[in-house]
């Protein structure tokens, strides 16, 4: 571990990406993620082989990512909700062409231009695909600047391992707040295969087939086969990449499920509820896809009820309900539009459940 530094979430993510070997960044300004491209524009030109380019649009930026990833590079882009919507076309093509890359979404309030304040209302978009077609991608949701650093570094390995984009889903708070962080020493790449599929130049007899980076399969039978291959990868991801954190769930009557910034607030609420004598627990999904259904299903065996807390009108709550399978009531509390729920609000929600014996 390096020395402890005080860093803004956005800058820490950018530095973590560089430490992970990312040398190419293509982005477009949008609040509240501007410190990522700004940091990259300062650092990358000073690193040999590094390139920062401010694209003409989010659409162009994600397609530059496609070209760079297709050429075999570690590459990243970042944006915030409206910009991520624009990138969806490119993300779908990147998944189809099986290219690795890392995409950061510092989520802000929506729909439309919405607000520039933190939100989690892009959960459906992030976990259900977002663009057109049958696909999934790994979605990592840090709840501190330190975790954002670690997940960003890992995201590049995961992207290369599965030849699939990895989305880091933060929110305005994760991006903007400053916290002490340690930049982990750069680990040697976990045995990752050579990118023999990349388009780097070919001639007959050069030892590999001609590279064709492509998502078009005009024959339906061939496309179905291709999509089945993608889903075989997703099955492995579901089996091996699911991550979450549990606190005081073993004896909990009321289990709060929350992620990212909201999970930090929920943790404070959970501890205060324990002080009051109400047995509360917390499950914090770290991967939003694949969704950690197992610990929720386990908690459903003994808990009286669940409370999902989100900075949205209720999106992850659907996945919690699927995991609980109707065994116990699943309640929801959320604030939206850029409003952050308070510890007090969450406590009140659980107190009401306890009072009503729900």
């Amino acid at each position: 571990m390096g020395e402890k530094m005080l860093m803004k979430g956005n800058e820490a993510i950018a530095e973590a990406a560089i430490q992970a070997g990312c040398r190419f960044f293509f982005g477009y300004p949008i609040t509240p993620q501007n410190q990522i491209p700004e940091y990259m524009s300062k650092r990358l030109p000073k690193i040999e082989g590094g390139c920062f380019l401010q694209a003409e649009s989010e659409v162009a930026a994600i397609n530059m990512v496609y070209g760079a990833a297709g050429a075999g590079a570690r590459v990243m882009t970042s944006s915030s909700s409206p910009g991520i919507s624009l990138k969806q076309e490119g993300i779908s093509y990147i998944v189809g062409a099986e290219l690795p890359c890392v995409i950061v979404n510092m989520v802000r309030g929506g729909p439309g231009l919405g607000s520039i304040q933190p939100a989690q209302s892009d959960y459906y978009q992030s976990t259900r695909g977002g663009g057109h077609g049958d696909y999934r991608m790994l979605v990592l949701a840090p709840s501190s600047v330190q975790e954002a650093v670690e997940l960003t570094q890992e995201a590049f390995d995961l992207a290369d391992k599965y030849r699939n984009p990895v989305l880091i889903m933060g929110d305005g708070l994760i991006g903007q707040m400053m916290e002490p962080v340690e930049m982990p020493e750069r680990k040697e790449k976990a045995e990752l295969p050579e990118k023999t599929w990349a388009a780097t130049g070919w001639k007959p007899g050069c030892g590999r087939d001609r590279a064709i980076i492509n998502s078009l399969y005009i024959d339906p039978a061939v496309l179905e086969k291709h999509v089945n291959k993608l889903y075989a990868k997703y099955a492995v991801m579901e089996e091996t990449e699911c991550r979450w954190q549990e606190e005081m769930t073993e004896d909990a009557d009321y289990v709060i499920v929350a992620y990212g910034t909201t999970a930090r607030i929920a943790r404070s609420a959970m501890r205060k509820l324990r002080d009051e004598g109400i047995k509360a627990g917390l499950i914090r999904p770290i991967t939003l896809w694949p969704f950690p259904a197992a610990p929720i299903a386990k908690a459903a065996e003994h808990a009286k009820a669940f409370l999902t807390v989100e900075m949205s009108m209720g999106q992850m709550v659907d996945d919690v309900k699927l995991a609980v399978e109707g065994k116990k009531p699943v309640h929801f509390f959320g604030r939206t539009g850029g409003i952050v729920p308070t510890v007090r609000e969450i406590i009140t929600q659980v107190e009401e459940l306890a009072k009503g014996g729900k």
Partner: protein, 245 residues
């Protein structure tokens, strides 16, 4: 017996899917010959468009990427920035480049992105069945301008080469045609020149090639070539629009 003509090895054995009389085949051959003659096969990466040339990755015997509609210049940018020693070209039609991809081509040009663009202008959307393109001539009948393109309703055709030539970034821009042998020879020279511009590291190069679409123009191949010469060239004058020494 002396060999007077043979197919360039820079095209694969895959039969072209283009319609009879379509000039994409000629343009493919010119691009492939240029790559072959310059000896850059193992450095070249081609970026295919969305449009009639969508399967270009099956035909050019080099590493290829297939881009989303209009995004080829952005894909080429990412590719070239990663491996600046590669020779990167895009092959795009007029709907792809001049309409949905207008931002990507303009900004790649103004950045002086060291790539080569082969821009095939046939004044119509071919693959989707003959709809109006940004390059469709005033009065030209298409499936979405059945009464003829009315500039009052949908504006005027875009002269891409002239427009991009106003920018400081491009190093070489020219417009050529493939309606007869003489012009095909000139087109070949211009395409080669564009690749040489990139090899020399001078920056962005683009060759606009006026091309015939007999199927969607509703003409025989011979009529289409005559129509191109009589109607497209007056609207899209041939020649070098910009050249930086």
């Amino acid at each position: 017996m002396a060999v007077v003509y043979e197919k360039t090895k820079l095209l694969t054995e895959k039969p072209l899917h283009y319609c009879p009389g379509c000039t994409h085949g000629i343009i493919h051959r010119l691009v492939a010959e240029a790559i072959d003659e310059l000896g850059i096969q193992e450095k070249t990466i081609g970026i295919a468009p969305v449009g009639c040339a969508v399967f270009a990755y099956d035909y050019f015997n080099v590493d290829m990427m297939e881009a989303a509609h209009g995004r080829a210049p952005a894909v080429a940018t990412g590719c070239k920035r990663v491996n600046p020693n590669n020779i990167v070209f895009t092959y795009q039609g007029d709907g792809d480049l001049a309409s949905i991809g207008a931002a990507e081509i303009t900004h790649a040009a103004t950045r002086g992105e060291n790539i080569t663009v082969i821009f095939v202008n046939n004044a119509i959307y071919g693959m989707t069945g003959g709809q109006m393109a940004p390059t469709t001539l005033p009065g030209q009948v298409t499936t979405t301008s059945p009464y003829g393109r009315d500039p009052k309703l949908c504006g005027y055709p875009i002269r891409v080469s002239e427009m991009l030539a106003t920018l400081d970034g491009p190093a070489y821009i020219s417009r050529v045609s493939v309606h007869d042998v003489k012009h095909i020879m000139e087109a070949k020279k211009s395409i080669k020149k564009a690749f040489e511009t990139q090899i020399a590291g001078k920056g962005f190069s683009l060759v606009e090639v006026l091309s015939a679409c007999p199927t969607n123009w509703g003409m025989t191949p011979q009529e289409a070539l005559k129509w191109l010469e009589a109607n497209m060239i007056p609207q899209y004058p041939l020649g070098v629009k910009k050249e930086v020494e």
